[in-house]
C-alpha cells in the first residue's frame, strides 16, 4: 500500500516498486519515482513545515523547484543532514528519512507559533525597527535569538563526507529546460550535428507535459513523446543529456553554471559517485526554455496546508497518481485550473466547486467541467480559507461583496496565471519588457547570444511553442557554425492552451483589510506588508523588496515577485512597468558549497609542494612548516627534544662541525643570452658586466618605487649565462617582474629567462667541516680556497651526476650549496649525509637557518623588510652600483621621502637582560613613561635565542637607527617594559673570518 490517496490507474509510476520512508519519525510507504512531496501526499500528509517568521503550519504548494514551503531536512547519517531540501524536488529512495524544520517541540504543536498572534510585532521592516535599542543588546541578545529563531533547518556539524566533482564543457548549443520547447530546440540543433547539451532540473524530461493530459505530439501522448525524443537525443554522440541539472547562473560570454544532482536520489550512492557535479559550460549559443511558473491566489489564509497550485495538483495526479484531497475546491482567475478540476473529477475525486474571479469566461475546458457536473461560480472570490493544520473550508463571496457561503473542502487548487521564467534571461543581462495585454514580463532586449522559446518567452500554446523552439534550435546551431537541420519538426496534434490571469491581491485581501493573505510564503510577507512598505515611504520596488523581504528567501520569489509588484504598483497608483521589476540574481536555486568547492578540498585544496629531499626529512622525523605552498623542514628533533633544544643543537653543530640544509625551494632563474649582463644591470642594483666567470654576487632587486623587492646570490656560468637565485616565497613574482621588464620595457635585449627552481635540488652544506664532507664526492672541481674562493661557482660532478657547486654562505661559516638535478637530490643528500656522519654533521631546518643568518645580520626580504625599506634603510648601500645610470628603482630610490633624515633603519637590538627574547613585531619607544598613545619609533623584525652567542639577539627597524648606536630604547609589553640597546647587525664573528675557517 503506497498511500491511501494513490489512485489506481492514474500516474506513470509502477505501483509494484514500493519504497519505505519516514517523516518526523513516522514510517510511510511510497513508490519509486515519487518525490518526497508526492509520497507524503499519497499518505494524506499535507502539513510538512512551519513558516519562517510566524511559524504558521505549511504544506506543499508546488510540484517543482519553485517550492517555498515544503522545506525539509534529509538525514542520511550523522554527517549527512541536509537542511532546506525542497520535498518537491527530493526523489524518494527506500529508507529516506526526512524531518520537518522550524518547529519545536513538534510540527503540530509549535511554541513559536505565538509569533502568529504577535504578528503586529513582525510587520514589514520589523528588522529595521525592532532591534535598534539598546545598542548593546544586539550582540548579546537580539542577534543570537534571531539566529536561533530564524534558522531554517540545522547545519550538519561534521565534515561533509561526500565528494563533489566539476567539469568544464563546451558546446555549440546549450538548451536550458527540458519541456516540449527545450526538447524541440535540442532535436533541431542536434540534427545538424552541432554539439548540444540539454539540461533539466527534473529527474524526468517533459516539463509541463508531465501533467498536460491533453497534449499529443507526433501521434503520441505528450509525455511519451518527450521520453522517446530524449532517448533519441541520448543516442546521439554530439548530444549530452543532463537530467536533475539546474542552471543556476548565467554569466558573461555565454558561460553558464549548472549543478547536476548525481546521487541524492539513490538509496546507497556508490563511493565513486559524487553527490553533485558542477558543470561550467561555455556555449556558442544558448536556448532558454525555462517555462513558466504558476502563481497562487492572494487571499486570507491562503497558506493553509492543502492549498496548492492547480498545476501542481495535476502533476501529482497525472504523473504520480496521487489525489491531493478527496473533496477539493478550485479558485482561479484563468482556464488552467479547470483542467486540474477535470482531471481530478475524472479520477474520482469530488470537486466541491470552482470559484472563478472572471465574470463570464467561455471555452472548451469550462464547457467540459460543466458537462462533468462540477459546480462553477463566476465573478466570485474565495475570501478566506478555514482550518489550521489543514484547510477545511473555503468561504466564497461575490467579488464585489455580498453574502458569504462556506464550502467544506480538504484541498484548494488555485491559479492566478503563469509567470514566464525569465530568471536566466535576466541574469544574462537581457532586459525584460512588460506586455500590457497579457500582464507579464517577457524577454525584451538581448545582451548575449541566446534566445528564449516557449512559455518563458510568453509564447502560449504547445503548437506555437514547438514551432518556435524547433526553429530557434536550428538557427542557434547554424549561428554556431553547424549545417542546416535535416530532421523533421515534431507535429503537435492536440494541446491545451491558456493565458492571462490576475496579479496582486484578490478580493477580500484588499487595502481595507488586515487579513493574512500571503504573497511570499517563505518569508511570510503578506499583501498588507507590501502596502505598508509603500505607506512608509518606499517608492522603488527594490526598496519595497528589502523593507518587506519579499522575494528574498531561498526561493527568490519565484511565485511572489509579480504579486508583490502588482500590489506595490496599485498602492503607488502607478502602472507596473513604471514601478519596475527587481533584478534576478544567481543562483536560480540554492547551490551547495560542496558543488562550488568541488575538487578543491583535502589534498586538492591547494597544491602542497614538496622537495626531492622531503621523504628523507620526513623519515628523520622532521617537523615541517608551510612556506607559501612549500613544506619545509623546520627542525629535526631528536628523542626528547623540544623545538628550542633542537634548534639550539642544530645552530651549535653548524658552527662547530657542519650542517646539511635543504635549500631546494629557493627560486632559481637561468638568464641566458648575449645581453644577459645588460639585463641583470637593469633589474638589480648591483653592477654585473664585470662579474668574472665562475664568480657570484649578492644581488638586490628593487621595484620601480625604490624599495627592496627581492634578493639572492647570482652566479655567472658563462659570459651569456647567469644562475640567479631568489627568495622561496618570491620566486613566481620575481620571475613575473623580470619577464614584465624584459618583454615590455627592454624588448630590444637578446636574453631569455627560464625558471629552473625545480630542475635543481639544492643541498646547503655549511660549517667548518663542509669542504671535508663534500670533497670526497666531487669530481672535476678543485675545492681549494684558491681555486674555489668564497662566492664562486663551478660546474662538475658529484656522486657521478652533474652539479652546479656554489661556494657561498648564509650562515657566516665556510659553506657550499650543491645543486643537482632534482631526481638525484635525495641520493646525493644521502651520500653527503653519510660523509657528514664522519664529521658529526647535523641536518638543520629553516628555524636554525633563520637564527644562524640573524647572528650574522643577514636580512630576510619579507621579514626584515616589508616593501617600504630601501637598500640604504637596510644598510645595503654597498650593493648599489654607484656609477650606474639606470636600473629598476634608481629613480624611486631618490624620491625626497626616501632620502630624508630619520627614516627607519635596520639595526641590531640586545636586550639588557640577555635571557629575554623579544617578540617579533613588538613596538619600540624612546621613553616608556610618556603618555599613551606613545610615539612608536620602530619595531622588531627578527628575534631569536642564539645559543652560539649565549644570549638573545634581534633585528629591528628603528627611526634614525644607525645614529642611535649604544642608545637605550624600550619595548613596552603587557608584562612590563623591556630595555634594549641599539647595536650593529652582526652578533657573531664580526670580522667574517669564519667564511674561510
Amino acid at each position: 500500500m503506497s498511500g491511501a490517496l494513490r489512485i489506481s490507474g492514474a500516474g506513470r509510476l509502477s505501483q509494484a516498486k514500493t519504497a519505505r520512508f519516514s517523516f518526523d519519525g513516522q514510517s510511510y510507504t511510497g513508490i519509486e519515482g515519487d518525490t518526497l512531496a508526492s509520497a507524503l501526499l499519497a499518505n494524506g500528509v499535507h502539513l510538512v513545515g512551519r513558516s519562517f517568521k510566524y511559524h504558521r503550519p505549511r504544506g506543499i504548494l508546488s510540484a517543482g523547484a519553485e517550492e517555498p514551503n515544503a522545506l525539509v531536512q534529509i538525514v542520511r547519517d550523522d554527517a549527512r543532514k541536509t537542511p532546506n531540501v525542497r520535498a518537491t524536488v527530493q526523489e524518494l529512495y527506500d529508507g529516506l528519512a526526512a524531518n520537518s524544520q522550524n518547529r519545536w517541540p513538534s510540527l503540530s504543536f509549535d511554541v513559536s507559533a505565538v509569533n502568529d498572534l504577535a504578528s503586529p510585532l513582525f510587520s514589514a521592516g520589523f528588522y529595521y525597527k525592532t532591534f535598534m535599542w539598546p545598542k548593546a543588546a544586539w550582540k548579546s541578545l537580539y542577534e543570537p535569538k534571531i539566529r536561533e529563531a530564524a534558522g531554517l533547518g540545522v547545519s550538519p556539524d561534521k565534515p561533509d563526507p561526500d565528494h563533489y566533482s566539476s567539469r568544464y564543457a563546451h558546446c555549440d548549443v546549450l538548451v536550458l529546460g527540458g519541456g516540449a520547447a527545450g526538447i524541440a530546440a535540442a532535436l533541431a540543433a542536434a540534427e545538424t550535428g552541432a554539439r548540444v547539451i540539454l539540461a533539466d532540473e527534473q529527474a524526468e524530461f517533459g516539463g509541463s507535459l508531465r501533467f498536460e493530459s491533453g497534449a499529443k505530439i507526433d501521434g503520441q501522448d505528450g509525455f511519451a513523446w518527450a521520453q522517446a525524443a530524449i532517448a533519441r537525443l541520448r543516442a546521439m554522440d554530439n548530444v549530452r543529456v543532463l537530467p536533475r541539472t539546474t542552471a543556476f547562473g548565467y554569466y558573461a560570454q555565454n558561460f553558464v553554471g549548472l549543478v547536476e544532482r548525481v546521487s541524492d536520489h539513490l538509496k546507497a550512492p556508490g563511493h565513486d559517485l559524487p553527490r553533485e557535479r558542477l558543470w561550467q559550460v561555455r556555449a556558442k549559443r544558448v536556448v532558454l526554455a525555462s517555462g513558466a511558473i504558476e502563481r497562487h491566489m492572494v487571499f486570507a489564509n491562503n497558506d493553509r496546508p492543502g492549498i496548492m497550485l492547480a498545476g501542481a495538483a495535476r502533476t501529482f495526479l497525472n504523473h504520480y497518481g496521487v489525489a491531493v484531497g478527496r473533496n477539493v475546491g478550485v479558485y482561479t482567475a484563468n482556464d488552467s485550473a479547470y483542467a486540474a478540476a477535470i482531471d481530478l473529477k475524472k479520477a474520482g475525486v469530488n470537486v466541491a466547486a470552482i470559484v472563478d474571479l472572471r465574470d463570464n469566461p467561455t471555452g472548451p475546458v469550462i464547457d467540459e467541467a460543466r458537462a462533468l457536473g462540477i459546480e462553477i461560480n463566476f465573478g466570485r472570490a474565495v475570501i478566506r480559507a478555514g482550518g489550521k493544520l489543514r484547510v477545511s473550508s473555503m468561504t466564497v463571496q461575490p467579488k464585489n461583496g455580498g453574502g458569504e457561503r462556506t464550502v467544506p473542502v480538504d484541498a484548494i487548487l488555485m491559479s492566478a496565471g503563469w509567470t514566464p521564467s525569465v530568471h536566466l534571461f535576466s541574469q544574462s543581462r537581457g532586459k525584460v519588457a512588460f506586455n500590457d495585454e497579457t500582464k507579464r514580463f517577457v524577454p525584451g532586449t538581448y545582451a548575449q547570444d541566446c534566445i528564449s522559446v516557449g512559455a518563458c518567452n510568453g509564447t502560449d500554446g504547445l503548437s506555437a511553442t514547438v514551432d518556435e523552439a524547433y526553429a530557434a534550435g536550428a538557427k542557434a546551431a547554424k549561428d554556431a557554425g553547424a549545417k542546416t537541420a535535416k530532421g523533421t519538426k515534431p507535429k503537435v496534434d492536440a494541446s491545451e492552451s491558456w493565458s492571462r490571469g490576475m496579479l496582486g491581491a484578490a478580493p477580500g485581501a484588499g487595502p481595507d483589510t488586515t487579513v493574512k493573505a500571503f504573497v511570499d510564503f517563505q518569508n511570510d510577507v503578506t499583501a498588507k506588508d507590501i502596502r505598508q512598505a509603500v505607506h512608509e515611504g518606499m517608492r522603488s520596488i527594490e526598496h519595497v523588496k528589502r523593507f518587506t523581504t519579499n522575494g528574498m528567501a531561498t526561493d527568490q520569489g519565484k511565485t511572489s515577485n509579480m504579486h508583490g509588484l502588482a500590489i506595490a504598483a496599485e498602492t503607488l497608483g502607478k502602472p507596473i512597468p513604471e514601478v519596475g521589476l527587481t533584478t534576478f540574481r544567481a543562483p536560480y536555486t540554492p547551490v551547495t558549497f560542496g558543488a562550488i568547492v568541488s575538487h578543491a578540498r583535502g589534498p586538492l585544496f591547494d597544491p602542497t609542494r614538496k622537495t626531492a629531499i622531503h621523504p628523507w626529512a620526513e623519515a628523520q622525523g622532521a617537523v615541517f612548516e608551510d612556506v607559501g605552498q612549500w613544506k619545509r623542514a623546520w627542525y629535526f628533533p631528536k628523542a626528547g627534544e623540544d623545538m628550542h633544544a633542537a634548534v639550539d643543537r642544530e645552530c651549535v653543530a653548524v658552527r662547530n662541525q657542519a650542517g646539511l640544509f635543504d635549500a631546494s625551494t629557493l627560486g632559481k632563474i637561468e638568464v641566458v643570452g648575449p645581453d644577459a649582463a645588460k639585463f641583470m644591470e637593469l633589474l638589480y642594483t648591483n653592477p654585473w658586466e664585470k662579474l668574472e666567470l665562475g664568480r657570484c654576487r649578492y644581488g638586490i632587486m628593487l621595484r620601480e618605487d625604490g624599495f627592496i623587492y627581492d634578493d639572492g646570490v647570482v652566479g655567472r656560468l658563462a659570459p651569456d649565462r647567469f644562475h640567479v637565485t631568489t627568495t622561496t616565497g618570491g620566486a613566481p613574482r620575481v620571475m613575473n617582474h623580470m619577464e614584465d621588464y624584459l618583454q615590455t620595457e627592454f624588448p630590444h635585449l637578446n636574453v631569455w629567462l627560464t625558471s629552473i627552481t625545480e630542475q635543481w635540488a639544492v643541498i646547503a652544506v655549511q660549517g667548518p667541516k663542509s669542504r671535508d664532507i663534500i670533497a670526497p664526492l666531487v669530481e672535476g672541481i678543485d675545492m681549494s680556497d684558491e681555486a674555489l674562493p668564497h662566492m664562486s661557482v663551478r660546474e662538475g660532478k658529484i656522486c657521478g651526476v652533474p652539479t652546479r657547486l656554489f661556494r657561498m654562505s648564509f650562515t657566516g661559516e665556510r659553506g657550499f650549496e650543491v645543486n643537482v638535478p632534482a631526481d638525484y637530490g635525495q641520493a646525493v643528500w644521502e651520500a653527503l649525509w653519510a660523509e657528514g656522519q664522519k664529521h658529526d654533521a647535523t641536518a638543520y631546518g629553516t628555524e636554525a637557518m633563520h637564527v644562524l643568518r640573524a647572528e650574522k645580520g643577514y636580512i630576510i626580504v619579507g621579514q626584515d623588510t616589508d616593501g617600504t625599506v630601501t637598500p640604504n634603510d637596510a644598510g645595503l648601500d654597498w650593493a648599489v652600483g654607484k656609477k650606474k645610470v639606470d636600473f629598476v628603482g634608481i629613480r624611486g630610490m631618490a624620491r625626497p621621502d626616501l632620502v630624508a633624515k630619520g627614516r627607519k633603519q635596520l639595526v641590531g637590538l640586545k636586550t639588557k637582560d640577555p635571557k629575554v627574547v623579544l617578540e617579533e613585531g613588538a613596538q619600540i619607544v624612546e621613553d616608556p613613561k610618556q603618555a599613551i598613545p606613545m610615539k612608536m619609533i620602530g619595531h622588531v623584525t627578527s628575534s631569536y635565542w642564539s645559543q652560539n652567542c649565549g644570549r638573545s639577539i634581534a633585528l629591528a627597524l628603528v627611526a634614525g637607527g644607525r645614529d642611535r648606536m649604544g642608545d637605550t630604547l624600550y619595548v613596552p609589553m603587557p608584562n612590563g617594559v623591556i630595555e634594549v640597546e641599539v647595536t650593529g647587525m652582526v652578533f657573531f664573528d664580526e670580522t667574517g673570518g669564519r667564511l674561510n675557517g
Binding site: H163, S165, S166, R167, Y168, A169, H170, D272, L273, P274, R277, Q280, R282, H599, A600, P603, L604, D606, P607, T608, R609, K610, T611, A612, W616, Q629, W630, E670, V672, G673, N750, V751, W752, T754, S755, I756, T757, E758, Q759, W760, P776, L777, V778, I798, C799, G800, V801, V820, P821, A822, D823, Y824, G825, A827, V828, E830, A831, W833, A834, E835
Partner: protein, 193 residues
C-alpha cells in the same frame, strides 16, 4: 640510503640513484587511465624566428610556428608554448641540450629534464578527466591530435599535449605533480561515472 652512500664514497663514480617524483604511480578508472611516464630529456628553448631553421636542423624536428601546435619526429617532440618558446621533449634517450649547444644562431636552451613530470591520461574518458579542472575546449575540433598548450588544471599550471584522439600527455613541475596526479585521478574517476 646507506647502500648508495657507501658506493659513492668508495668510488666517486656515477652512482647516485635517480628517484623520480611519483615514479610508477598509476590509477585506472572505467574509460580513463592516469599514469606517470618515465623520465625524459627536456629543454626549454627560446629563440627568435631567424634562428628557427638552424635549431630545427640541429634538433632533427621542425620547430612549429603555429600557436597550440607541436611537431614530433624520432621520439622527439617540440611543443609551441609561445611565439619564441618551445618545450622540446626527447623520449629516445638523446640529449637535445647537447644538440642545441652546437648551434651558433641566437637562442637560449636550458635543461629542464628534472623540472617537469609527465603524466599520461588515456582512454575514451581522458578528455573529460582533464576537463575536470582544465577550462580549455578539448574537443577534437578545438584541440586536435598534436595540439599543445600551456594552461591550467585546477590551481596548477600544466602543459597539455594531445598524443592521440583518446590520449594526452600532461606535463607539470615536479612539486606540483602530486597535486596534478591526484586531480587527474579524481577527474578520471568522475569521468567514468
Amino acid at each position: 640510503m646507506a647502500k648508495a652512500a657507501a658506493r659513492t664514497a668508495a668510488t666517486a663514480s656515477p652512482s647516485a640513484e635517480r628517484r623520480s617524483a611519483l615514479a610508477g604511480r598509476t590509477v585506472s578508472a572505467t574509460g580513463a587511465k592516469v599514469e606517470v611516464l618515465p623520465p625524459a630529456e627536456r629543454i626549454s628553448l627560446r629563440a627568435p624566428e631567424a634562428s628557427v631553421p638552424a635549431l630545427s636542423k640541429a634538433l632533427g624536428v621542425t620547430l612549429p610556428k603555429q600557436p597550440k601546435t607541436s611537431a614530433s619526429k624520432g621520439g622527439r617532440t617540440a611543443l609551441w608554448l609561445g611565439p619564441d618558446e618551445w618545450l622540446v621533449i626527447d623520449e629516445a634517450g638523446k640529449d637535445p641540450l647537447a644538440d642545441c649547444a652546437e648551434v651558433s644562431a641566437l637562442h637560449s636552451s636550458v635543461g629542464i629534464s628534472h623540472r617537469n613530470i609527465a603524466i599520461s591520461v588515456t582512454g575514451p574518458a581522458a578528455e573529460a578527466a582533464i576537463n575536470s579542472g582544465c577550462p580549455q575546449d578539448l574537443s577534437l575540433e578545438a584541440f586536435p591530435v598534436g595540439a599543445a598548450s600551456r594552461t591550467i588544471l585546477g590551481k596548477a599550471e600544466i602543459v597539455l599535449l594531445r598524443t592521440a584522439e583518446d590520449a594526452f600527455r600532461v606535463e607539470c613541475w615536479r612539486s606540483f605533480s602530486d597535486y596534478v596526479f591526484t586531480f587527474l585521478s579524481e577527474g578520471a574517476r568522475d569521468a567514468a561515472g
